[in-house]
């Protein structure tokens, strides 16, 4: 064969054409649909459009798909199909749990007039934090936001237990934090609450319900509701290559564990969450769950390998002195794919660095907080990270298809961005 044209070789060359395509490293914000999920979704949209509540074949077909998806989700988290309620997403699922805890407290005997108390961490997603803040504002509940330990980045079990009051009705701690990647000690906490509940019931005190928002953990590590010992678990489709709906796992809804609906209507989802079902999305979610059940260990191993390689390359390129890893805490496990770090120095605020990147697509923290300007993440600050370091934070989260080659491109991009910012002078 003859000589290949110069552009085709690629290695180490800057081709004269368009810049290398971007590398998306913001998988904690959202993930694309897996091809199999898009296919399942599309097929359901075209072929199973009937109303699942209808008796005729068009409806029955949709009903079967939904039943299949429900089983798939149950299998993914180690529960039973009857424990899965489909919702519009994580926000709705989280709100349902809080709503249920309050209703359950009010309906429990011996609580007349008392204000229910809810315990959560100081680093939760807004869909837990804001409903609680609203309830406190309206004097409908009291809330304790247990700060995370600056040493471990976790909401420590002892700190949570210390916050328990006679009026406590719910403890909600996220399974893995979206910004730092720290995994919280939910199993251990559940065990302690279970023991505590036995004593409380004997004393006539309300049972403490246990919830975990597992949005960031599914597809990145083991999620088993028997192991976790929780009463409720939030499932979010668009974090594990699924569509933009979610589900709530409830251990025996209406029987073992209370579940009170927020919406009233046509009786779907056993009246826990009525509304004509979103069959295509549910089918897609079921397929995404299937992929996770089959492959989560391989996904975790791969993402951990690529993330560790990213951290090694960052350290090699910027040097230990210039870099601070905000997601490394002693004694804590962390998500396999998250790397939160700050390049130290003036003028290197996270947003500025990202603006000067030509390849890297990432964020400085939770996507839903992106309008906050240059103020650093409150989650990092509450983990004890100094203000100037938190300001420079970058959150990179790798995905199932991220390669080490992508990492090399991104690190080079960051090096050039920082060099450029250095030339432009401090802001």
């Amino acid at each position: 064969e003859g000589a290949a044209p110069p552009g085709a070789m690629g290695a180490g060359t800057e081709p004269p054409g368009p810049a290398p395509s971007s590398v998306y490293l913001d998988y904690n914000a959202t993930t694309p649909l897996a091809p199999e999920v898009a296919q399942a979704l599309g097929e359901a949209a075209c072929q199973a459009w009937g109303n699942p509540s209808s008796a005729h074949p068009a409806g029955r077909k949709a009903k079967e798909l939904i039943a299949g998806a429900r089983e798939s989700l149950a299998r993914m988290v180690g529960g039973r199909p009857e424990d899965v309620i489909f919702t519009s997403g994580g926000t709705e699922a989280n709100n349902m749990v809080i709503h249920t805890a309050l209703r359950h407290f009010r309906e429990s005997k011996g609580q007349d007039g008392a204000t229910p108390h809810i315990i959560t961490s100081g680093v939760e997603h807004d869909s837990i934090r804001l409903p609680l803040e609203q309830l406190v504002k309206e004097s409908l509940a009291e809330a304790t936001f247990v700060p995370v330990s600056p040493r471990s980045g976790q909401a420590e079990v002892d700190d949570v237990l210390a916050a328990v009051r006679p009026t406590t009705c719910l403890v909600s701690i996220m399974l893995a934090n979206n910004e730092t990647g720290v995994i919280m000690p939910v199993s251990k906490l559940s065990q302690h609450i279970h023991v505590l509940n036995q004593k409380r019931v004997a004393e006539g005190l309300p049972r403490i319900l246990v919830h975990t928002d597992a949005a960031q953990m599914i597809g990145k590590g083991r999620v088993d509701v028997q192991e976790l010992g929780v009463d409720y678990l939030t499932i979010v489709g668009h974090k594990f290559y699924g569509p933009r709906i979610g589900a709530l796992y409830v251990r025996g809804p209406g029987t073992t564990t209370p579940l009170h609906p927020m919406l009233f209507g046509g009786g779907q989802e056993r009246s826990f969450r009525p509304g004509t079902e979103n069959t295509p999305m549910i089918a897609g979610l079921g397929k995404a769950a299937e992929l996770v059940s089959r492959n989560w260990e391989a996904y975790e191993a791969h993402m951990r390998d690529v993330r560790d390689y990213l951290e090694a390359r960052l350290e090699a390129s910027f040097g230990k002195q210039r870099l601070h890893f905000n997601s490394k805490f002693t004694g804590s496990k962390r998500l396999c794919n998250t790397c939160n770090f700050s390049i130290l120095g003036p003028g290197l605020q996270g947003r500025r660095v990202l603006a000067h990147c030509k390849t890297l697509l990432a964020s400085v923290g939770a996507a839903c907080h992106s309008e906050k300007g240059d103020r650093p993440s409150s989650i990092l600050l509450s983990c004890g990270i100094p203000y100037e370091v938190a300001q420079n934070a970058l959150r990179l989260s790798v995905g199932r298809d991220t390669t080490r080659a992508d990492v090399d491109l991104v690190v080079q991009d960051l090096v050039q961005a920082v060099a450029q910012l250095g030339e432009d002078g401090a802001s």
């Binding site: 110069p6 070789m9 390669t403 690190v411």
Partner: protein, 160 residues
């Protein structure tokens, strides 16, 4: 990757402009390993004194198989490689086979990807190739060690 004739290689080779300037095209050391690869081939993977490491994944575009033959004194006397990947990946694994020969198992485990990258003057975007070559060496030596002590519980080597 298509076979490249001498003319093609010459097209890509630019005169060296010193360490600072960005060179367009492959470094001549990489081209050399590509055109005159050392130790391509296979050893008998069933032989007790042969360790085989298989790393990478076709989906990532890089797969390396590296094999070592170790003598009674724990010294690597022979090494072979086969690589599916870019020129830098081929050069990294070819260099790896050159470097492990003559070393003891423990000495070979000390070979770092940064040394390989430095020797081949790999650009930043190709550093992962040298990392994979280091993984391949470690995988081959781990396989060899496992074969000497089959009862020991060793973690499974995975091609990632």
């Amino acid at each position: 990757m298509a076979a490249l004739g001498r003319a093609g290689a010459a097209l890509l080779l630019r005169p060296a402009r010193g360490a600072a300037g960005p060179a367009l095209g492959y470094h001549k050391k990489v081209v050399d390993h590509y055109e005159n690869p050392r130790n391509v081939g296979s050893l008998d993977r069933n032989a007790k004194n042969v360790g085989t490491g298989l790393v990478g994944a076709p989906a990532c575009g890089d797969v390396m198989k590296l094999q070592v033959e170790v003598d009674e004194n724990g010294r690597i006397v022979e090494a072979r490689f086969k690589t599916f990947g870019c020129g830098s990946a081929i050069a990294s694994s070819s260099l790896a086979t050159e470097w492990v020969k003559g070393k003891t198992v423990d000495e070979a485990l000390k070979i770092k990807n940064t040394d390989i990258a430095k020797e081949l003057c790999l650009p930043p975007v190709k550093l992962h190739c040298s990392m994979l070559a280091e993984d391949a060496i470690k995988a081959a030596l781990a396989d060899y060690k496992l074969k000497q002590h089959p009862k020991k519980e060793e973690p499974e080597q995975k091609a990632n």
